[in-house]
């Protein structure tokens, strides 16, 4: 991690945290859900013709999203670690 990357990540964190602070106690419902409410508004007679095969409870949904992120982050960490380790081994061989 270089300093520049640290600054970029910090900036991304500030932008997200800034939204959180500026919007106050707005509730932060999902935009997908708000679009759904808008559909109901525009077409009150519309009946969805399929339902999700399975709907997890709220906390379980959060866990599954966290798992998805963890899986991705784990793979990225493994790849970077693997390449660093290999580069270090090459340096040792050369020395």
């Amino acid at each position: 991690m270089t300093r520049r990357d640290g600054i970029l990540l910090g900036l991304a964190a500030v932008i997200v945290a800034g939204g959180l602070l500026l919007a106050g106690d707005a509730g932060f419902g999902g935009a997908d859900g708000k679009a759904l409410a808008l559909v109901r508004d525009l077409a009150p007679g519309y009946e969805p013709w399929a339902v999700p095969v399975w709907t997890p409870a709220g906390s379980l949904e959060g866990l599954l999203f966290a798992l998805q992120a963890a899986l991705g982050a784990g793979v990225i960490g493994w790849i970077v670690g693997y390449r660093r380790g290999r580069a270090a081994a090459h340096r040792d061989d050369a020395a």
């Binding site: 932008i15 919007a23 998805q68």
Partner: protein, 224 residues
Amino acid sequence: MHIMEGFLPATHAAGWTAAAAPFVAWGAWRINRVLRDHPETRLILGAAGAFTFVLSALKLPSVTGSSSHPTGTGLGAALFGPSVMTVVATIVLVLQALLMAHGGLTTLGANVFAMGVVGPFVAWGLYRLVTGVGAGMAPAVFLAAFCGDIATYMTTSFQLALAFPDPVSGVTGALAKFLSVFAVTQLPLAVAEGLVSVVMMNLLRRHAAGELALVPAFLKEARA
């Protein structure tokens, strides 16, 4: 950009599925070819796919008081071409439809078209354009990821407006309404996605430069 299960009329759902399917097939063929020609790039492909996994799992708060997901497809589209990310987005969207009740199987085609086709194509086009005029890697990746993210949500808004036009102001009126839900919320999140994508690209350049040079985007540059 998840249109919920059952929330597109059957004809629209079928139409978007038919529109997205060839891109998924093309992407699968492209992945096969890239990995056959340069098997070393599987490491980078894995990283790009994993990056999409992370970003599309995050539900981030925005200034509007709503929260939404980044897409994470721009970086991979810049490196491997857009159709490869169609496949990655399809995998993510199938998992989220089956396990998290986000999106759905009937709306999968529409959601793949937004997140896996339009977003990646816009990202890839911008990356080529910006690097083509000689600008640096960082602005190219930033713009690609930012615009890919925004384009995905504009597509979703358009898909919903087409299916549910406003009784008074028609498709255009509905589009304005759906954009007001998605676009402003997405702006800061897309900026954050752009910044994080640049960091990911830097990480790959520093630690996997050898493999990165064999990725389609850089092979093209080397040949040019």
